[in-house]
């Protein structure tokens, strides 16, 4: 493992952060509980991580979480932005890629798969 490479990645990422003036613009959370995985969340998570790498999205973080209490609508994906959290249901691999392209990049949520939108009060 070429750990020296990581030093360069850090330097570049910290310079990007200074330019941007803050941490991540968007956080994507994928429900990876048992029911989510049974419904295909593994492929969903993988597609989102792949899109982030392929599209070089440097201001987006991705995390996973356990059961979301919405078993009937798994796989669940949440898109966290400073002013709102958009919760998507039945997110298969193709939908996951569209969420990244249309919502995260272009700012247009996929209305047909939105389960709930929560406003975040500053």
């Amino acid at each position: 493992m070429k750990l020296e490479e990581l030093r360069k990645i850090r330097e570049r990422a910290e310079a990007e952060l200074r330019l941007r003036g803050g941490p991540s613009r968007v956080k994507i959370v994928v429900g990876m509980g048992t029911s989510g995985i049974a419904a295909g969340a593994r492929a969903t998570l993988r597609a989102i991580v792949d899109e982030v790498a392929r599209r070089d999205l440097r201001d987006v973080t991705v995390t996973q979480t356990g059961e979301k209490g919405l078993a009937a609508q798994e796989p669940i994906v949440e898109v966290h932005e400073p002013d709102r959290i958009t919760i998507y249901g039945e997110v298969d691999e193709a939908t996951a890629r569209r969420i990244v392209a249309e919502h995260v990049i272009n700012g247009r949520p996929l209305a047909e798969r939105v389960v709930e939108v929560r406003e975040v009060k500053g």
Binding site: L6, V49, V52, V62
Partner: protein, 183 residues
């Protein structure tokens, strides 16, 4: 029953994450005629009275979590390849799951896409440190997310450059110890 070994690894790692582990070690070792697949964690562990039942397909330690097919499928793969399977408590808490598989057995599933399976799980688990150890009789290779994070500071593992680094590092490691990945 299961497509490839990477799926077994994903099952075990996801079990560890659901058990609240903050340290997970994945080992894949070619030892003579055996292929040892081992996952060890410091999670909630399994109560002693439940150890005998963890390979029952209709048993889960997680209330309301439904059936737990991950371990029974691995037991099946171990048995089909003339190997063995063991779940044991880990000193200090958590568990260690070890499957010995016949590395030359015709029923041994292919490795599958271990890189594409493992990297998303590692990168999207911010509070969890992973160690991946790959070895054969001559070579040993290790990836430690703690070492990676120490060098990255606040940069998340899902940063695109870090994802590419992790994918390449793990692919190199697999090649070094002679495992053939399928992507």
């Amino acid at each position: 029953m299961i497509g490839d070994l990477a799926m077994h690894v994903a099952d075990l790692v996801e079990n560890s994450l659901r058990a609240g582990a903050t340290e997970i070690t994945v080992r894949l070792a070619r030892e003579g005629e055996d292929l040892r697949l081992e996952v060890e964690d410091n999670g909630a562990g399994i109560p002693p009275e439940d150890f005998a039942r963890v390979t029952d397909p209709f048993f889960s330690t997680k209330k309301g979590a439904g059936i737990g097919l991950g371990l029974p499928l691995l037991v099946q793969t171990a048995e089909e390849t003339g190997g063995s399977f063991r779940v044991e408590p880990r000193p200090g808490g958590g568990i260690r799951v070890t499957a010995r598989l016949g590395s030359r057995h015709p029923d041994l599933p292919p490795l599958g896409d271990l890189v594409g399976t493992l990297v998303p799980l590692i990168a999207t688990s911010p509070g969890v440190e992973f160690t991946v150890e790959l070895s054969d009789d001559r070579t040993a290779w290790t990836l430690s997310t703690r070492e990676v994070r120490e060098r990255l500071g606040e940069v998340p593992l899902t940063h695109p450059d870090v994802l590419v680094f992790l994918e390449r590092a793990l692919a190199d490691g697999l090649r070094e110890v002679g495992f053939e990945e399928e992507r």
